[in-house]
């Protein structure tokens, strides 16, 4: 038969995970996944799009993109209070792309790709240029299927200053097959989403295995939205939440184009319904291992039952302490020098594990790498791999990648001193006294897990547990982002040109002008103004042609 095979292998799934956090907040994570078995790289262009958005499909085929990951985040994820997120993201905008092996000029493709994406997402991604793009040599390995990993085809950039607002959410919602008209996307109302402690929307495109044998690959588009609501500001102080209170919308029906539409509520802390209860109740329970922990979820399937709302009371109990988290701050005083401290905590009682730290510092903070020290528990800890690329003024930022082994139950501190550069006066932003941002550090690690992780790739796995591919059962991959830094550069007084012009002109006019006048002015005697009678007499004399009176 001549029915196009690609139409059959088009699948859309949506899910929402709600996890009450121990600090009194609610963490809601939406994931929308579209799978499409097609080949974007073949000769005749793909022209029939059904569930996969056409704008992204054209981007993939035009720029020969292998993997694309873009995230827009407002707020900072507090690992110690909230645990690990399902999908981490740094504050601001982050974009990292793996290009195909066939691309000859990766930098030109990168520049055009950022411009096109800035038009699609209404964001100022066109500010990504060579001064904030790096090429990591060991971090950010591809998350999808590739033949080989040559890091020359990888580019990574962050814009920590990027603002996220409704104008970014609107095009993101338009990429979904049902838009925001049906299914879980109905809940996405911007006035509630941005009144939260943390908001992040991401788009991930990568080729994945279709099934367990993994003989064929298909393109996967994942759109995720993570929100943390603070119930104390938005709720009435009662420890009770409902879908309507969080999103000010109720669910009506599942998206008709979705093959599965589910809501998972994390009830691990409530095994016998002693602390809280869900209404409407559901008998469906499922267990999943995610982030090294086995959690129990109540499952609501939107395609089967008519759904009204969910309400729940908040649990009290202990939380699994995150095994890895990090902080970063600037030390020092004055506007000339300073020190960047990155602190990594390993909370595992007896296992040590390696972490890969990626630091990208803009060129106007001149790092002195000879002052780089890595200490754990007071002693020197030499990294087993260091890759450093120095910056070039106005062209390239610093790139520092280190593989550090974190000893068990310890604090590792990485310090490096820097000096601030003086920018040219046109390079300052219109509000330079706000400060300049330094992007977050990225820490990638394989953290040992107390629970055996699932290495089988199946379609029935919930989406939130199947994002990072799992190769071994005893550890799971995690990426932690630190805070971005805000440093003040020595800022000139921008009114000085005006002041200088005024002062110089005054000095020239008053000082030199008076001197010039005194030296070059010639004096003439002038007749005083004659009185009226004399004026009339002179007038008559002028008529007569007789010489005038003096």
């Amino acid at each position: 038969t001549l029915v196009a095979r690609s139409l059959l292998a088009n699948d859309f799934q949506e899910e929402l995970v709600i996890r009450p956090l121990h600090s009194g907040d609610i963490y809601a994570s939406f994931q929308f996944r579209t799978l499409w078995e097609t080949d974007f790289m073949r000769e005749n262009k793909v022209s029939h799009y059904r569930l996969f958005p056409k704008s992204l499909g054209q981007v993939i085929s035009k720029f020969s993109v292998r993997e694309l990951h873009i995230s827009f985040t407002q707020g900072y994820w507090r690992t110690m209070q909230w645990g690990q997120p399902f999908l981490p993201s740094p504050p601001g905008a982050e974009l990292w792309v793996w290009f195909q092996d066939s691309v000859t000029d990766v930098d030109a493709a990168w520049k055009e790709l950022t411009n096109v994406l800035s038009g699609i997402f209404c964001a100022s991604l066109n500010f990504i240029d060579s001064t904030n793009t790096v090429q990591p040599s060991a971090s950010f390995k591809p998350l999808g299927i590739v033949n080989e990993t040559d890091h020359r085809f990888l580019r990574y950039a962050t814009l920590p200053r990027e603002i996220v607002c409704t104008e970014n959410l609107t095009p993101w919602k338009k990429l979904l097959p049902c838009g925001s008209k049906a299914g879980l996307a109905v809940l996405l109302k911007s006035e509630k989403l941005f009144h939260s402690s943390f908001f992040s929307q991401t788009v991930h495109i990568r080729p994945v295995c279709q099934d367990r044998e993994c003989k064929t690959t298909s393109w996967e588009l994942r759109q995720t939205l993570n929100v943390v609501f603070d119930l104390h500001t938005s709720g009435q102080g009662k420890r009770e939440w409902s879908l309507f209170k969080m999103f000010s919308r109720t669910l009506t029906e599942a998206c008709p184009l979705a093959s599965s539409s589910k809501i998972y509520i994390d009830v691990t802390d409530n095994p016998q319904e002693e602390y809280f209860e869900l209404s409407p109740a559901t008998p469906l329970l499922s267990q999943a291992v995610v982030l090294g922990d086995r959690r129990t979820f109540s499952v609501y399937d939107l395609t089967q039952q008519l759904f009204k709302s969910v309400s729940d009371l908040l649990p009290a109990g202990s939380m699994l302490r995150p095994l890895l988290h990090a902080e970063r701050y600037v030390a020092g005083y004055g506007l000339q020098t300073g020190e960047i401290h990155t602190v990594m905590y390993n909370n595992h009682p007896f296992r040590s594990f390696p972490v890969l730290l990626l630091d990208s510092v803009p060129w106007y903070l001149r790092l002195y790498i000879h002052t780089l020290t890595v200490t754990s528990k007071g002693k020197d800890n030499t990294p087993s791999y260091i890759h450093y690329q120095p910056s070039k003024d106005r062209m390239r930022p610093h790139l520092l990648e280190m593989l550090v082994q974190l000893p068990p139950h310890s604090v590792t501190e990485v310090t490096v001193q820097f000096e601030r550069a003086l920018l040219k006066w046109t390079e300052y932003t219109p509000d330079p006294n706000h400060g300049f941002y330094v992007g977050s550090s990225v820490i990638s690690a394989l953290v040992p897990s107390s629970v055996a992780m699932d290495t089988n790739i199946t379609q029935e796995q919930p989406l939130f547990s199947s994002f990072f591919p799992c190769k071994e059962e005893s550890s799971y991959f995690v990426r932690v982002y630190t805070e971005p830094l805000l440093v003040n550069l020595p800022t000139p007084d921008f009114s000085m040109p005006y002041n200088v012009i005024c002062l110089t002109c005054t000095v020239v006019a008053v000082g030199y002008g008076s001197l010039y006048n005194l030296l070059t002015r010639s004096f003439q005697i002038e007749e005083p103004n004659p009185r009226l009678a004399k004026k009339i007499a002179n007038f008559i004399r002028r008529i007569r042609g007789v010489p005038l009176l003096s």
């Binding site: 001549l2 409704t166 941005f194």
Partner: protein, 389 residues
Amino acid sequence: VAYLCFYSVQLSNMLAAIIMLIFICFCVHFQNTAGQFFSSGHTNNWAVLVCTSRFWFNYRHVANTLSVYRSVKRLGIPDSHIVLMLADDMACNHRNPKPATVFSHRNMELNVYGDDVEVDYRGYEVTVENFLRVLTGRLPPSTPRSKRLLSDDRSNILIYLTGHGGNGFLKFQDSEEISNVELADAFEQMWQKRRYNELLFIIDTCQGASMYERFYSPNIMALASSQVGEDSLSHQPDLAIGVHLMDRYTFYLLEFLEDIHPASKSNMNDLFKVCPKSQCVSTPGHRTDLFLRDPGSVLITDFFGSVRKVEITMEAIHLTDPILQLEDGEEVQEKTYSYVDQLPVSEIIHQKPKQKDWHPPDGFILGLWTLILLVFFKTYGIKHLKHIF
């Protein structure tokens, strides 16, 4: 009897002449109304809406621009034909007590930000250079379509500017200005490149009338919120948000535009009457000498709305047969794919340094070698050259 005949012939002649005259009058009248229907001469509408002020206390300028955006969208111009430039983000600003909203009326009656807004230039991108490039079309080739003004010689463009200004200039983001001469030259470039059919320029700043004094290109109509020497004032503060929400001129302009619907027949003379001195405190001004049509015949929807002239055709169009996609035969894939290890520790430690692209030697190195060679040959003489080569 002859006289009677003569008179009757004359009478009938006069009657015929009168009938002819009345008939001609009717024809002319029909032609006039038909001519009026097609007199605007434009086929598409564009809008360029710019807010040039940064910082939280300039909330009202963003609210001004967003309320004009809202009216323009409501009257039919699609997002693809609107270039919206906002110099700062007020809706998701951390000082906004109601995130993702921008209000124009006190007591939070009207949210002009809405749910479906597309901002094309935001934050630091709103500069004089980008504004002039958008107007004249001289953008770098990789600029996406949503950031371009793709108008032609049958486009009516509405340009709205708001911010802080003075006599002959408008301030962009507290760091640079655009002068009225530059703006006039940009419009002349647009005219010479045939990028507009008619242009309506509205400016809401202090001393706004100075900005349109220097225009010299045809088919431009300009409105300003205040004359030279006067300040444009803001309308009302909201005590919960803590800043002034709108400027007076745009507030009354928004109220006027809320009554306009896509089929309304209000013309420019009504627009000139918006915000008299009693309401605005400043005197709004306008300039129509460069405009070829009479302002009374120009509809508001010529600029604020979008043209939807439909031509009905009865021709039949033959579609080709659908192209069937031939599939490759089902090949049995021998290769099994797998995911890559996310943190391959041993591989990373034993990584070979990646081959760097070879660059030709730098100028410094070349100069050093030239110096060395010159010194050598100076000392030892040129006859040693044959031993080298």
